[in-house]
């Protein structure tokens, strides 16, 4: 990879990290709930006493909300599948380029 590109990537990733971490440090004692939930609250604000007419299939099956730990497990699985595919293909691309450039 070109040197300039490497540097660019490092700078961009640092910026991304800052963008994600600064709010947590700057806003102390804030809950950091999901914005999807916030959306549901607005619905209830506009239409008082709104009850969702359908509950998620999985929640119906286990008869309640999905436990937080299990939910984070599922999110990790999702991330893992994605990262796995990207890493596998990226590895192949990188190796291929090496071979094309004369085996080193």
């Amino acid at each position: 990879m070109k040197h300039a590109d490497k540097r660019k990537i490092a700078v961009i990733l640092a910026a991304v990290t800052l963008l994600a971490v600064v709010p947590v440090i700057a806003l102390k004692g804030v809950e950091f709930g999901g914005s999807d939930d916030a959306g549901s609250q607005v619905v209830e604000e506009i239409e008082e006493g709104y009850e969702p007419w359908f509950t998620p299939v999985l929640e119906t099956m286990i008869g309640g909300e999905i436990p937080g730990e299990v939910e984070s497990l599922m999110f990790c699985i999702q991330t893992g599948i994605g990262v796995g595919i990207i890493a596998f293909l990226m590895g192949r691309f990188v190796e291929r380029k090496k071979w094309e450039n004369g085996g080193n």
């Binding site: 961009i12 991304v16 549901s40 607005v42 007419w53 359908f54 599922m74 999702q78 994605g82």
Partner: protein, 245 residues
Amino acid sequence: MTKRQKKLFIVSIVCAAVFGIAPNANAMHIMEGYLPLGFCIAWGAVSLPFLVKGFFSIQKKLQENRKNITILAMSGAFIFVISSLKIPSVTGSCSHMTGTGLGAILFGPSAVSILGIIVLIFQAVLLAHGGLTTLGANTFSMAIAGPFLSYGIYKICRKCKVNRRAGVFLAAAFGDLFTYCITSVQLALAYPAKEGMIVSAGKFLGVFAPTQLPLGIIEGCLTVVIMITLENYAQPELRNAGYLE
């Protein structure tokens, strides 16, 4: 492998069709049961043609060149990763990004609708995040409207000779924001406030927009990072996809 993948795509289409006709309406991440039945069906129906077109466009891309499968899978995986990361934002709530910009730039917006709906079904079924009833509406906002805007912005940037990577950044960032704008409108259509739909849309947008703004920027950055990497290591594939001349 390809046969299996084809089967997978067909299954996802069938799912879309079934849910489009059965109780169904799913906007980006409108929660399960939060859209009235009529809207569920309507959004499902609106999304359907895009999904069918997306299916054929993917099929065509793969027939043109079997090797396209690698970066197609990568675009899909990128959506998987990006949309699973809940990131804290300046407003004190968390949200996640869409990741659809990459696929839209490489393969065009309709192909992304298929990749997007796979992720949405995964989240709706296994995570109780979004929902099956709101799948149509969520598909429309995340897998159709956002990618179309991304694609448009990228094309305009190329026409105007804007730096390629700047174009990628803008496309991904605005595609992300636009997804949440559409979600707001979808919710507002279903829940107009007494003062009218516009006020209601403003209210929903007020919840989503400030949270999503920094995340849009992050999404733009990450899309540029993966694009830089691909430009370095996957030039033949990018040429096939028409990204590089």
